[in-house]
Amino acid sequence: MPTFYAVEFKPWVFLEPQNLKVTANFLGDFFPPVFQSEFLLLLLKDAWTTIAIATAGMALALVFSVPLSIAASSALSVSSLTGPMHPVGFLVRQSIRWLLIVLRSIPELVWALIFVRVVGLGPAAGVLAIAVTYTGMLGKIYGEILESGDTQTSRAILVGGGGRLQAFSYGLLPQNATELLSYSVYRWECAIRSSAVLGFVGAGGLGQQMDASMKMFNGGEVATILMVLMLLVAMADQISSWMRRAVQ
């Protein structure tokens, strides 16, 4: 298949002697992992930075994506109740959808690179990158959830003379609250992983530390960081599934 050829798929490269030696050295470096208290404390701080960047980014994303998804939702279109959608309404909704597509098509790392150029190195670039990308993602999924759910109540409110935001808060929101919450918490878990990665471009946190350790070929430190990352994700996963079960 041409695609296998295009990616230069030659896994036997891993088994070439000099590569094997490098790999063996590298893996050997992993043991023993570094467990000194000062390094662990550093990692703890980095872990918190990673979580904080993800949480702050998600919070901003929520602030922007909720109004955008409400505005883009055809479930709140009054004109659609009784006929084709009004052209102005259609244009507005489509433009917002395109904005969301652009926001999430550019990968977070690229946004982070851009923001690093504008606001400098540091957590702000990471927070903004996550905020922008996740606005696009959450906006799209919220829109899908709202439209695929039961719209009977919100349509009844619109036909009864209520406003769009009222139809949202009394109709769409109670109908879909569990699914919206469930997806948001799942995305927060993903944001933590994204935030770890963004550290590679200087946004701080575990990623930055791992980049530093790798550049110094300190396999032990890398191993410890990987373990901390696993623990972090497991913890977030646990909180996430607990919250999702609580809203069922």
Binding site: T82, V159, G160, Y170
Partner: protein, 280 residues
């Protein structure tokens, strides 16, 4: 509000443009404050008629006038205001499962509330008293704070009717209000509805499968079949023969609802003189 239809045609949106019409050449005049029952076999267009009156369906042809104006010539704001004066209760009440009954009831007052007021009401229900009185009329007082998904189908249907009591509308359009209720409850519900409608002077139009209830409780009955108006008569003139003709080939749909034991005994309204709702 007076309602007037002249030569009205309508078709469901889901039907192709050369498909059958839901309503054909319908003409009807309803005085403000009157009560009207709409009967007919399945597919007669009863629900479509209510949807037309609720401005949930656009007519194809003919003239429609609600409160002296054609709703489809009003602008967005005018139509919204008109809609707030009409209360439509579909057969399956639109109640979000995880919402509390008190909040679901207060959604009938949304057109009168500002956005801030609506949000406040979500956090702290402001209409508990009115909601309670509305529910008591249907013998559901103790369900005020329960979640909708804890209630049976019959209870939900009665809550859908109780919503009418909460609204400030001048026209009540009720679609099959008794379909999920047993005979005793049906009697209570329809009496409560009519009592309050008379008290407030609202125009009440109800579609019913229970033709006995229609004949006994409503002063005027219209019969629809296949989208056309077959008769429009005062209740005394609705003979068994007329009914048989209307329901020809659909006789199994004719439900005989026996009248319940004594109207006075089943009244559940609170013994107060204060109005249930203080509308603008």
């Amino acid at each position: 509000m007076e309602i007037l239809l002249e030569g009205l045609d309508a078709r469901h949106r889901a039907v192709a443009s050369d498909g059958p019409k839901a309503l054909q050449n319908l003409s009807l005049r309803v005085q403000a404050g009157s009560h009207l029952a709409v009967i007919g076999p399945s597919g007669a267009g009863k629900t479509s008629l209510l949807q037309i009156l609720a401005t949930g369906l656009r007519p194809l042809e003919g003239r429609l006038s609600i409160g002296g104006a054609d709703p489809w010539t009003l602008g967005g704001t005018g139509l919204k205001r008109l809609r707030s004066r009409i209360f439509y209760a579909p057969q399956v009440p639109p109640l979000p499962p995880r919402q509390r009954v008190v909040t679901a009831l207060s959604s009938a007052r949304l057109p009168e509330l500002s956005l801030a007021g609506s949000i406040l009401n979500l956090i702290r229900p402001q209409f508990a008293q009115q909601g309670y009185q509305a529910l008591c009329a249907f013998d559901l007082g103790e369900k005020l704070w329960l979640r909708v998904d804890r209630l049976s189908g019959g209870e939900r249907q009665r809550i859908g009717l109780a919503k009418a009591f909460m609204s400030c509308a001048e026209v009540w359009l009720v679609d099959e209000p008794l379909s999920a209720l047993d005979p005793k409850r049906s009697q209570q519900a329809i009496e409560a509805l009519l009592e309050e409608a008379t008290r407030r002077g609202v125009t009440l139009i109800a579609t019913l499968h229970q033709v006995e209830v229609a004949r006994q409780m409503f002063p005027r009955v219209i019969g629809l079949r296949e989208g056309q108006l077959r008769f429009d008569l005062p209740r005394e003139s609705v003979t068994d023969a007329a009914l048989r003709e209307l329901y020809n080939q659909y006789e199994y749909e004719l439900e005989q609802t026996p009248v319940g034991p004594g109207r006075e005994a089943s009244l559940m309204l609170p013994a107060s003189n204060s109005p249930v709702i203080a509308c603008r």
